[in-house]
């Protein structure tokens, strides 16, 4: 491999630019995954710290930095899911949803709070894809590349999940 190319591949990204650009995407990915700002901040911090520690392993010829960072965020999210007690979130979410009619909830909660609660009722895979699409702002194609699913499969899952959310809203 020519030296210049090797240096380009192994060159570190501009971390200040990366930080400014990617922080909202990663943060909102976690917002959609877990709905809790404190968790989102904690998990975002973990993601960036892991990325920083592993920065020498990033290869820009293999993936865009945003893709690489999101793959770390997904691993962090998976670790978080494994570590927490899953019933807590469901119970909390159920209590919010069962507390009244959608109209009552609309009066009581903001759209964001309601959406967060409803997302907690979705299956893990659906929630992750919704977080990637609406939280991280990824296209179906980018999600497909990141998850290994086909693009049409991603579209189908997201469409069904959106329908479910609409029905529960």
């Amino acid at each position: 491999m020519p030296g210049r190319l090797a240096r380009w591949i192994s060159a570190e990204p501009d971390w200040d630019a990366v930080f400014a650009d990617q922080l909202p995407r990663v943060f909102n990915f976690f917002r959609y995954r877990f709905g809790n700002t404190a968790d989102a901040e904690d998990l975002t911090a973990r993601t960036f710290e892991k990325a920083w520690r592993a920065r020498h392993r990033y290869r820009r010829d293999v993936a865009a930095f945003s893709t690489w960072l999101l793959s770390i965020a997904r691993n962090v999210a998976a670790d978080h899911v494994r570590a927490r007690r899953p019933l807590v979130a469901l119970e909390e979410a159920s209590s919010v949803v069962a507390a009244g009619t959608p109209e009552d909830q609309a009066m009581k909660n903001s759209d964001g709070e309601r959406l967060a609660a409803l997302l907690q009722l979705m299956p893990e895979r659906d929630r992750e894809l919704l977080a990637m699409k609406y939280g991280a702002g990824m296209t179906n194609r980018a999600i497909a590349i990141a998850t290994g699913l086909s693009e049409s499969n991603v579209g189908t899952i997201v469409h069904r999940a959106v329908q479910t959310l609409r029905e529960r809203w």
Binding site: A6, D16, L23, E49, H56, Y134
Partner: protein, 327 residues
């Protein structure tokens, strides 16, 4: 439910969180003492932060002057201290490592922003506010390839006795008392502009020289920071007896403790034109973990300035000669 409501959960991270995380990452950059020249860019910050962590980790101790509210620490001497990696890993697992602790209690009053490239050392000196020294001796085949200036950095850290206690408990340090006077006191750190001269050889970075005025660290009055220094040395992994004796012999008002990176293979005290410094040799890992090389780092102070040289493609002898030839 309309489309806009699917985006209703989106919001920008709070500015406080962003600042805290960025500070934490920058502190991590400084403390990781990694493999690339990027780390030398953070050298002056390292000097300041390692110094400032007197409240949390090691370093400077000053008997407050009677007439000033704050005592001032300035770097004159360097002392390298080996770091017990396992202890730091223990702290990291519990979010008690230095980047976390600093990030929590750090307020950035002035951010220097990214380095700015300039055309010459003279221009860098104009921007930085001091006369930039350049080496009369340059290793064969090396040439000046980049000159950068980073702006002024102003930080304030508020040490927490509780957090320090957690650190000590995590490491089973129970025989030392934390001076309560440190709690909530303000530590003020000002890092002057930093100038970086990079020398390449055969198209690749070979040597980097960093220089700045000594960071000024204002410390709370009335705190016996020698005790904190001893605690810091214990946290870094020095045995109790050694840490106690070491803490008693160091001039804490002017000595910067340099925690040796895990990659360090050797270190020694050196004298550069009559000024004491420290030379660290370490193993560098190539991109993607492939291959290793030896790197040399030299830190010293002279006439109120702090200098650092890092090389990946020059011998320790070359580095020493460059240091001695700075004019």
């Amino acid at each position: 439910m309309d489309d806009s409501q699917f985006h209703s959960l989106r919001r920008d991270p709070s500015a406080a969180f962003a600042a805290r995380l960025q500070a934490s990452l920058r502190a991590r950059e400084v403390s990781s003492a990694g493999r690339t020249f990027r780390h030398m860019r953070g050298f002056a910050i390292a000097a300041a932060i390692v110094a400032v962590v007197g409240g949390l980790l090691s370093v400077p101790s000053v008997r407050a002057s009677a007439q000033s509210f704050l005592a001032l620490f300035r770097v004159v001497n360097f002392v390298a201290v080996p770091v017990d990696e396992n202890r730091l890993a223990t702290l990291q697992e519990q979010n008690l490592d230095l980047p976390h602790l600093i990030g929590e209690q750090l307020q950035v009053l002035q951010d220097p922003g990214p380095p700015t490239g300039v055309a010459s050392p003279e221009q860098a000196g104009d921007a930085a506010g001091f006369a930039v020294r350049v080496p009369a001796y340059i290793p064969t085949g090396a040439y000046l390839s980049a000159v950068q200036v980073t702006g002024t950095r102003h930080l304030q850290i508020t040490p927490s006795a509780d957090r320090l206690r957690q650190v000590m408990e995590a490491l089973a340090i129970s025989d030392l008392e934390i001076p309560q006077e440190i709690d909530g006191k303000l530590v003020d750190v000002r890092v002057s502009p930093v100038v970086m001269l990079r020398y390449d050889r055969s198209g690749a970075p070979a040597v980097q020289i960093v220089q700045t005025k000594s960071p000024a660290v204002s410390l709370p009055e009335g705190v016996d920071l020698r005790v904190l220094g001893e605690i810091g040395l214990r946290i870094l992994g020095l045995p109790p007896v050694e840490a106690h004796e070491f803490a008693g012999t160091i001039d804490w008002q002017s000595t910067l403790i340099v925690p040796l990176p895990p990659t360090a293979t050797s270190f020694k005290q050196v004298v550069i034109n009559g000024n004491k410094g420290v030379a660290i040799e370490r193993t560098l890992t190539g991109p993607n973990g492939s291959g290793t090389a030896r790197g040399n780092m030299l830190l010293w102070s002279s006439d109120g300035m702090v200098f650092g040289i890092e090389s990946t493609r020059a011998s320790s002898n070359d580095v020493l000669q460059m240091a001695e030839s700075l004019r």
